[in-house]
Subunit: 223 residues, 8 copies
């Protein structure tokens, strides 16, 4: 008996493919899913795959995976062959936020989108942000990644016209433990039009960006 | 001495105009802001304006306002003259969610966008949603409005390719008091690409939708 | 001195037997309880028994146990000999929810009830649920198992007449860490008649289902 | 334009009729719903209808309602004509819990079920509960209503074989403000098989009881 | 019997005088305190004095008070005669934050310190802050007043060398209700050396500023 | 330099000796404290001493300790020689609550008080409590130890005249994780005169009992 | 039908009489209880009786009551005739804490115990506490009443040998709103033997004190 | 590609140098930062550097560090050569609070300030504090370090005129787990002028103290 059923039509229906959230699964369950995908010669994205989980996979499956420990993502079947679509920018407040930022970047790459990363532009040194203002204003959609007090969400959103997807991270300690301060700061932002995803949910931020990019395409169709 | 300074260039810089959040302001402060806008012949959107606050405004100012008590919004200077841009859809779970839904619709109208409303499609009667499936799949961006347990966010996002902006409302009692259950359900949604704004923040949902629509326009420009 | 006293009459009094919640107990305490039960040739259900705790039991006791690591349950003395009673259905949102779902299934089996399992029918792909609609409508009581945002509770309860027992799981991260979002979504459900048990409490969901099935039996007795 | 759509088929589909949660609705919205129901000669149950909301309804509608201020319920179209089905018992810890207890009783009556009420049997005076033990053991399903520390849920569930629906109330102050202590005590109960509904949700407790009673009926059908 | 005892030596001992927190007191209690102070010809500061409480005071006492409804403060006995000491600056994010900002300003004035106010410099329009940079860098201590997401605390602290006292306000709704988001943002600030007082505690921010100014004076004494 | 100063006069001043809370201390810090006490030939009680911390102590110190791993307590210098004073009773809901119960018993013994223990009398089987009613009514002060939903606190306090000290434990999962449900149930108890200490604070419960016993002694002194 | 049943034997069984918590009851319910007590010529204590509730009682009942608005208590049937027993002391941090302090004092008086009150001894002016040290050390049991940060609990408990009952109050704002900071400070106190009751629960603090005083009496009986 | 950019001008701009918060960084990231600093011959402070992280650094880098495991700080490039400035005092409630206290002391030393430490002066033994009163009154700024119930913040602030920086620690269990009780006690303090930093944020307390000391210097400059 299989106890999972992948939704292979999801990309057609919603624009983004189903991914496998590995954290709460056993290695046996992950291996079974990978085997089915591999047999179908399907591409598959795995998220929140811990290094121990990765190490526990059978070697033949593990060797098919492109695994990135910082973002805890793995890709089966490689990236799309077409040239990646431009338009997305990722801005990360600090070095410690790079894990979720990279999860977003890898998810975008898996779906054929490029996303340059501007790192370490926290608000305690705003001049670092000002240097990048031109690049910020060029983007069609911006993913801002920040933990701690999350002030960067409001600052970026006040500077640009592009939609801003706030990706709060669990970086922080004391009252900021677990990322709720950054999350709440994004939701309560005094800057209009900030949209928020769950803490550390780089996958969700990326798929939201893809849907925004695609909304622009769809608009071109006559109705 | 004036103790406020409106950001009249915000629309040029970020694509959406500054609005006045009235809830925490005194009637005197609101009147001063309206006077300045009126003197400049500027258009202005007021949000979270309670009926008592509206009633406390000087009559000459009050009479210039188009006030809607259900959404607690008021518009100074009328709507834009151009034909509203299509592409946004608002879906509300229940009658009780119509206040924030209407705040979003009025904010969109203020910025020259039309947004039809599908009301009362809660998940306890999914057939009501299925009837609207065609209209859902036509939209370029969808604002889903729900309180209580917020299951509608995931259900809609699983059916369409358009970006979904979840607008949780404070409708609910017991554990759902204040809207945090709907908010958290949106953030934790198992459907990819759901983006969330603060509880009852119809203004934020609408400005996010505007930025998404505009992102599509910008894409047409050669770079 | 013994520091525990098992309630061997509980099944006669309340319809369900006492079980041993192992998580907060030392291996010595668990071994003492098993020894007493074994000496009485009594059947016994152990819940939340971690693999390390199981491994730390004396071999002669451990070998008498039917242990299932996924659900962390162990059964001493085997299942009842009579054919299991039908009528219960278990529906799980995702692969990651199978631990608590299996705890419920094993508890039902221990008490002589069968419960088929429908897995991986999360609301992001509602078609998977629709395929099972007939089976859902046949059941006399349904246990719905879901973590994350818990939208499945409302969706199933809106489709069937049977009582729905919501079993929220601790599957999730960010705001959903620990399972409170799924728990609150179940409690705030807009669908009437959803009943809820504690997070990951598969034992509680199963014993509730048994009491519901038995309530039907009792009704046949003349009063 | 109507902004609501009642689900008149819900009773056929799920065994309980749609009710109108009035708290978050305007008097205008409630009046519109009542008018539609009245025009259809349909029976309708209204819950969480505050005395002020009731008073604000147009007199012709208001006079058609059987309104009970303690439970904040109103019934349009009277009770069913058939003799009410027995089997449900309501046990309330204190006088202050009678509002939600009565909401449950009225909901049961609206659906043709009788439910005697045992009041004021808090655990600080357990002898009051022991006197009622015979009646408790006769019931097919028991709704236990308690606020404060909610100890009554566990005590009753330890004494009977019937399924226990815990209905926590918002009665309490200090740490018990809003009813979360009673809710959590019900969820964490050491007695097996306690099922829980939202705080003050007498409607939910009653519809759960109806589904449990109906589950017994269905069992008699051959399959 | 008097049920209060004012600490008339507190100013000598700690540098700031005792103030009367009126919110949780009855009008009778406040009147008794004022009478004692008036009889001693002592100066006294009252905080969190609601307009209704003020109106309920006996007219002879009320007329001795300099009452400011926006900050809910009243001063008995006037301001010090000496020229106010310079060095403190108050920066408020929005018009809605002016109540607590004014409580701080009035407390400073009561103790003989001047504090100019820069209002409406929220981070969604950073240019408004940049215009004031010179004044910010002149101050010896800065009180930053902000509600909502509280991003202004980090932005100001990243620009200046003066100690920054963060005064979070209860301005906000949804997740920001009550001011905890601004409070947590201040505590979790990635900018070094931000110090925080309780939500809406303008009195506490001002007395902290006074102690900082006095610490500079004390340093001049030889030891 | 020593970075601790024991309060050797505390017993004379307050009736209970200072104890060393080991959990947040390094092994080096604990060893230094033990050395000072040993050099003074003083008796000392250590609480929350983990097995690893105990194992990390220098052998000569470790061998002087009477260590009990279940309660994580250690006693230096043995028990008092006088016959222990009677009057305290400890009642524990389940086997899993025995750690904190034993911490209380050991603290009482260290101060020369005896305390018999009644174990495993949870409210799901009230008959187990009724058997002990005589012993309960004999006690001068009762410590009730319970986790989960903490119903035992109210049940015992409703049966006896002695003061009841509620000692909530961290036993539980889901909503009961960490013990806050039991704590809140104790605080919200509908039974009069229940007093509460911190979660798992067996030391605090015992020292409170000692002070209550001593209050009786003091009363005999003429004043 | 009566929907309440008073527990007239509670005083014999537990040492303190049943009291009527009025806050969540309707005036009709309170009047019915008073009528029964009056007909029995029984004494009765009412707590948390708001001035509006008191005013809504029928005049003949109201006139039999000794009502105190500050503590929101009312006494039917007067105080006991015997001379009150000494030994209890009440210490209140501030004027604003006098409501709960007075609820405790009135409850003690109702049960025939005297309790002098030391008011306004907050820790910001410790000298006020030191002046009362002799009286503090004379008491057999001390009720400490404090809101805000609740530092007084630890300070008093560190100075005396008597058992300390901490009565946290809801006095405070910002993070201290509702009294949880004072409650948690009492529970986490570093001083041994502090016992805690619910926020604003003056009745509970007083009945705990009575049980402690009685425990001393009982000890004198030979066993 | 480097994914970090140190803000070498921060000390000039804000008075305190940028430090590296190591906890959320990988060893590789920390090593890259140290290499850049070492190449620049720059001094650098590392905070929250766990022993395992320190051990994982390449030996040549590790040997350049002055690492202190208790405070989890490391200093690259030694202390300033000038004689340290006096004026700061650190007061710690207990031995367990010495980690954050030492983080503050080391941060002060890194910036050329001395700070004597008074340890183990918890309020349960106030005489220990009184002995130090002279030293307390000499200081220009005092950092008070406490966990548990945090009563020491109010007690010290009531005794001195110097500004008090409250540094709450995560020392505690039960309700005090994680340090929020101490944090809230500091914020809610009834003593005027207490300023608060995040839990365990010794770095933040120290940099705040530095800015306060510097504010005094600046005052001497003519303007």
């Amino acid at each position: 008996m299989t106890d999972f059923r992948l939704d292979w039509e999801r990309e057609a229906r919603t624009g983004v493919a189903e991914a496998v959230l590995c954290e709460p699964k056993t290695a046996t369950q992950i291996a079974a899913i990978l085997t089915e995908a591999s047999n179908k010669a399907a591409r598959l994205l795995l998220t929140r795959l811990a290094q121990q989980q990765h190490a526990a996979l059978p070697a033949p499956l593990r060797e098919q995976l492109d695994f990135d420990p910082l973002s805890r993502t793995a890709i089966l079947g490689g990236l799309p062959r077409r040239a990646p679509e431009q338009g997305t920018l990722i801005v990360a407040a600090g070095t410690a936020d790079l894990g979720p930022a990279q999860e977003a970047a890898r998810t975008l790459a898996f779906h054929g989108r490029a996303a340059p990363l501007i790192a370490d532009v926290g608000v305690a040194g705003l001049w670092r942000l000002n240097e990048q203002l031109h690049q910020l204003r060029e983007a069609r959609v911006i993913i801002v990644v920040a933990g701690m007090e999350g002030a960067l969400f409001s600052v970026v959103a006040g500077l640009v016209a592009a939609p801003v997807i706030a990706l709060p991270t669990s970086v922080g300690y004391g009252v900021a433990t677990g990322g709720t301060v950054a999350l709440h700061a994004a939701l309560a932002s005094c800057a209009a039009g900030v949209m928020v995803v769950n803490i550390d949910n780089g996958f969700g931020a990326a798929t939201a960006a893809i849907k925004i990019l695609d909304a622009g395409h769809r608009k071109l169709d006559p109705r």
